[in-house]
């Protein structure tokens, strides 16, 4: 399976061109002098300056960041608990309902989730703002965390926990000292996923936010509806840049870890 036919090369190239050219154009034209986004008029960084001077964007970015950090952290705790219960909890009353509630939000259209939460918040007379967005984001992202963590827990050797119990650790100590450190990478990637989902979300935030809280995607949405704007291009470039750096760092770190593991294995083989 190791030879690429010309057809394979073409489909890969075309595919990646399709995936990346739109973003590349965005990035390039964020440095365009002209207000007209589709006509190149020389290099300039003035749109970045304007973006940074725009308080509405900065406020929205701050709200978004707060919401994302808080909701993804709560979601990670709840999602890890849910994953543990699903994989290790055995049978309990309403288990089917529970696992259904974990998996359903993954495929639920955002309009429905948003609408239902909004109607609930209104029904109980809760003022809409940062808190309601956090509640909404936590609810759907905890399900993603739980899926990521439970897939790790399923491959987790249960005898490690049993060994800890056998050596005198209470179930909680066993979780804290053995299970958690080992599944930590999955918990971290669950957190990152929850964080990104929260940063990204437009629809649910639109439903559950009130006049006091506008998130960045909502702000982008209202200006994008009026057409293409160079400021949004600049903002997009910043976001794309951050994500790219993050993902490249993460993959370098994991590559390093893999290399280290390989070296260790060789060392172990020599020691034998």
């Amino acid at each position: 399976m190791n030879r690429l036919s010309p057809f394979n090369v073409v489909s890969l190239t075309m595919g990646f061109v399709f995936l990346y050219v739109p973003m590349l154009i965005l990035v390039i034209f964020s440095f365009n002098e002209s207000k007209l986004v589709t006509v190149w008029a020389g290099f300039s960084t003035k749109w970045y300056g304007e973006l940074l001077a725009n308080d509405a964007f900065l406020d929205a970015a701050w709200v978004t960041l707060q919401v994302a950090v808080i909701s993804s952290t709560i979601a990670t705790v709840l999602g890890t608990m849910a994953a543990y219960v699903l994989v290790r909890g055995g049978r309990f009353f309403g288990r089917t309902l529970f696992s259904g509630m974990i998996y359903a939000p993954l495929v639920m259209p955002e309009v429905i989730t948003g609408l239902s939460l909004l109607l609930l918040f209104i029904g109980i007379g809760m003022d809409r703002g940062v808190l309601t967005i956090v509640l909404a984001h936590t609810t759907f992202s905890m399900c993603f965390v739980s899926v990521v963590v439970s897939s790790r827990l399923m491959t987790f050797d249960q005898s490690l926990e049993e060994a800890a119990l056998d050596l005198g650790a209470s179930p909680f100590t066993a979780f804290r000292l053995v299970t958690l450190p080992i599944i930590a990478p999955a918990v971290v990637s669950g957190w990152l996923l929850a964080f990104t989902l929260s940063l990204d979300d437009l629809v649910i935030a639109s439903f559950t936010s009130g006049p006091s809280a506008t998130t960045l995607p909502m702000k982008i949405w209202s200006s994008v509806r009026l057409g293409v704007s160079p400021e949004i291009n600049a903002l997009s470039t910043i976001l794309i840049g951050l994500v790219t750096i993050g993902v490249i760092c993460a993959s370098l770190a994991s590559k390093q870890a893999a290399l280290r593991a390989k070296r260790d294995e060789q060392q172990a083989a020599r020691a034998a």
């Binding site: 050797d157 005898s159 490690l160 049993e162 060994a163 800890a164 119990l165 056998d166 050596l167 005198g168 650790a169 209470s170 179930p171 100590t173 066993a174 000292l177 053995v178 450190p181 080992i182 593991a261 260790d264 294995e265 060392q267 172990a268 083989a269 020691a271 034998a272």
Partner: protein, 374 residues
């Protein structure tokens, strides 16, 4: 005392360390352990031997506290241990997968259990060093489990489970992951450590050779029941059932009906028109009772001429398996049965006395076989 044989199971005054009393364990409809009663004594090296699914692992997990019996009671030093969680039992376990904590160093792995019950750093450190020394792992203390070899990992697992000086150590297929050479060396090491520490060991294994080598007593299990508990010699030489005889080592089984011909002597009619064979048995048989004569291949000898022996049967060589130190001849009797005879190859490059299709006589003594009723 030095000349007394270690056999507490024969001494009625000895109190067993572990008692299974009519223990039954069911998982849903499946009965893993079926009304089992068993005593294990202090300082024993006790082996639970059986095919996979016979319930031996369930017994071990009940001792460790990961399962509780459905019926009956399990006593440890006279106390019922049902309901005591695994972290509160003076029992430690060495896992089949070793279950070494991958994120902790060898040192921290061994110290894990000690840290749970004491905060005396100096005492913990001294005990860990002692364990490292016992298992010859001093050099690897700072390494992580994936940085050492399989044999070393096995020793870490052993050191970790022994660190708390448990009353009872459970070993679940402890040598299963090692290759044959290393396994043999490790078996002796295990026995050595068991003797040094004086801990009671209960080992679970499906490898009969391993059980015979290390154990003071072996329990052969099948389908949740104990078929026989005895010393390795007794298990091999005096099995109580065809199942045990067949499970341990190689055996020839001759079916027939017994007739008493003297005190403890029986003749066995095994085929129409053939001379009956004779066997000595302390197990009583009524005349005409169905019986099975179990004879080990190494106790059957092979001759060209009719030998002067208690039992002699004619046949022809069907197959020869050359095993280096031994050769096994498969001799087909005119009745279609196949009897295996084993001959030691004491001389190098000797001409084989028999070859395929040769007519031969096989013989064995009256006391060579065991007469079984089931």
């Amino acid at each position: 005392m030095a000349d007394t044989v270690f056999a507490p199971w024969d001494d009625p005054d000895q109190k067993p360390l572990i008692r299974f009393r009519n223990v039954t364990k069911r998982f849903g409809d499946f009965t893993a352990i079926d009304d089992l009663t068993l005593d294990i004594f202090e300082q024993e090296f006790f082996a639970l031997l059986g095919p996979s699914g016979c319930g031996k692992t369930t017994m071990m997990r009940m001792l460790a506290g990961f399962e509780n019996p459905t019926e009956g009671r399990i006593e440890l030093a006279g106390n019922d241990i049902a309901g005591v969680p695994p972290n509160k039992r003076a029992v430690n376990m060495m896992f089949q997968s070793y279950a070494l904590f991958p994120h902790l160093s060898i040192w921290d792995n061994i110290a894990f259990g000690l840290r749970r019950e004491s905060s005396d750093k100096a005492a913990i450190s001294a005990r860990v060093e002692e364990m490292l020394k016992l298992t010859r792992l001093e050099k690897f203390a700072k390494r992580k489990p994936h940085q050492i070899s399989g044999g070393q990992r096995q020793r870490v697992a052993l050191a970790r489970s022994l660190a708390k000086a448990p009353k009872l150590l459970l070993l679940d297929e402890p040598l299963g992951a090692l290759d044959a050479k290393l396994r043999e060396a490790t078996q002796f090491e295990l026995m050595d450590i068991q003797e040094k520490t004086g801990t009671t060991f209960v080992i679970v294994t499906h490898d009969q050779e391993e059980a015979m080598t290390v154990a003071s007593r072996v329990a052969v299990m099948d389908e949740g029941r104990i078929m026989q508990v005895a010393t390795p010699e007794q298990i091999y030489e005096a099995p109580q059932s065809v199942y045990v005889a067949d499970f341990i080592g190689d055996v020839n089984i001759i079916r027939g009906s017994a007739t008493a011909v003297g005190p403890d002597r029986y003749q066995i009619a095994w085929a129409e028109g053939r001379d009956p064979v004779h066997a000595v048995s302390t197990r009583p048989f009524s005349d005409g009772q169905e019986c099975h004569l179990a004879i080990r291949p190494e106790k059957v000898s092979i001759h060209a001429e009719h030998p002067a022996a208690d039992n002699a049967v004619q046949g022809k060589v069907l197959d020869i398996a050359y095993l280096g130190n031994l050769s096994t001849y498969h001799v087909e009797l005119p009745t279609g049965e196949i009897i295996k005879a084993q001959v030691a190859n004491t001389r190098r490059i000797s001409r084989r006395a028999f070859t395929w299709e040769d007519p031969v006589w096989i013989s064995w003594t009256e006391t060579a076989g065991v007469l079984l009723d089931q």
